[in-house]
Symmetry: C2
Subunit: 260 residues, 2 copies
């Protein structure tokens, strides 16, 4: 019998998100699938884990014929619980996270629950891909991007990844005829220009609510933001090492100059 | 009149944490200080931000003569609110986060609210330092490390940072006589070996609670874990670019081989 790879699926928009359903549709064609996703939307949760509270897992019957669970924690909690409680006898061959409703390009990787979940699986040695479609709407049309996601997943299942365990994949929300292909990129140096909406709640307490605009400050043509603006699917090989290697030698003099 | 630098202070253990008080003690000797810290402990919150709920800020009178606020959100929320609501007319010269109760060396930077808060300030262009003492106890003795923190803060206020805006500083909990000095390092490649404690709550619902051990798998003598084990204060210049540059060329062939 042909080997069926095991594909672990999670997201940050929650177990009922249409983007998750689209990813499940694709993955079940390629292998055995297990889904563990948050029971509530968890956008912006970054690499948060639940330490002070117990976690719950509940089996749900929303994907016909598939093992699926909702979890009371963050996207990273979903991956940890999936590994230790549900998959302890078998290792996943691939983890896919998403499809996120909205971009996780550039700096957004830091804040993204979708990407943090994929990173968590990569820390466990599992090849992992986070997928995002550049459409923030809940009823975004995920149909056109499913083909590209299937192609990339099949490629990684077949060829693995070199020097890397994590891909940050963002897909422009443009017609298939306009799409130019996949582009391997670096993370753009962009930022959020933010502000807070201020108001008073019904009990007269002042509140602040975050809003903002994403601004690219990186003029390189080798970045994910450039690729997306030019109708490519951006693929950023990513990791978890935050060391700024080019600062190490510059800072070495501090060792002699700051006394203990 | 001599220029007094403005030092922004936050943490993830909460506004009442002894580690925060120790950092405030040091900072107020070096400049003007503003404190914005979470109103509840936020360990393990990583780079989480609050998107779905409004945030509250409350002025608190717990540090004599200082402006201090507790915030209902995450450590990163504290930095954003501090910048946009409290400091909008003045830029901080330095952000310090901590002193964390326990290590943020190696991979822990990813999960750490302390380090994520400092990273958030660095994204805004502010030189930022996260401090951690390798003692998880609430009543840890922060007195001995205050001298070293003061020295490093004074150095950075005087000299700035080169090629970097963020330092991850971990301090061994050893007597001053044993301490060898500061060491500029890279982030060690270590991991957590985790498991879940399983139980039933008083209502008969099954729960899972995370626990685990930190295991260093990196044999290099240039890592933060090595430095700490050898009684150095580890200083890792850090950033927010997760790109794995050495994987880009290896993956380039994917552009031709995966069709859209």
């Amino acid at each position: 019998m042909e080997y069926r790879p095991l594909i672990f699926i999670t997201n940050d928009d929650g177990i009922n998100a249409p983007g998750l359903r689209a990813l499940v549709d694709v993955a079940r064609e390629l292998g055995d699938v297990i889904v563990v996703a948050p029971d509530t939307p968890q956008s912006g949760q970054g690499h948060a884990i639940t330490l002070r509270d117990p976690l719950r897992l509940k089996k749900v019957d929303i994907f016909e014929g598939l093992d699926a669970y909702e979890c009371s924690g963050t996207p990273v909690d979903c991956v940890k619980l999936g590994k230790h409680i549900l998959l302890h006898q078998r290792e996943a061959d691939l983890c896919v996270s998403g499809i996120n409703h909205g971009s996780n390009a550039s700096l957004n990787i830091i804040y993204s629950g979708t990407m943090s979940a994929a990173m968590e699986a990569s820390l466990e040695g599992i090849n992992s891909i986070g997928f995002s479609l550049l459409d923030y709407e809940w009823d975004a049309d995920f149909e056109p991007c499913k083909t590209h996601i299937r192609e990339l997943m099949a490629y990684v299942l077949e060829n693995g990844m070199e020097n890397c365990k994590l891909l940050n994949v963002n897909i422009p929300a443009v017609p298939a005829t306009v799409l130019k292909g996949f582009k391997i990129c670096r993370q753009a140096e962009a930022r959020w220009i933010e502000r807070y909406v201020e108001g008073e709640d019904p009990r007269g307490q002042k509140y602040y609510w975050l809003t903002g605009d994403f601004v690219n400050q990186d003029e390189g043509d080798d970045t994910d933001v450039w690729a997306l603006e030019n109708n490519y699917i951006s693929v950023v090989p990513s990791g978890h090492d935050l060391t700024r290697y080019n600062a190490i030698s510059a800072l070495k003099k501090l060792e002699a100059e700051v006394e203990v």
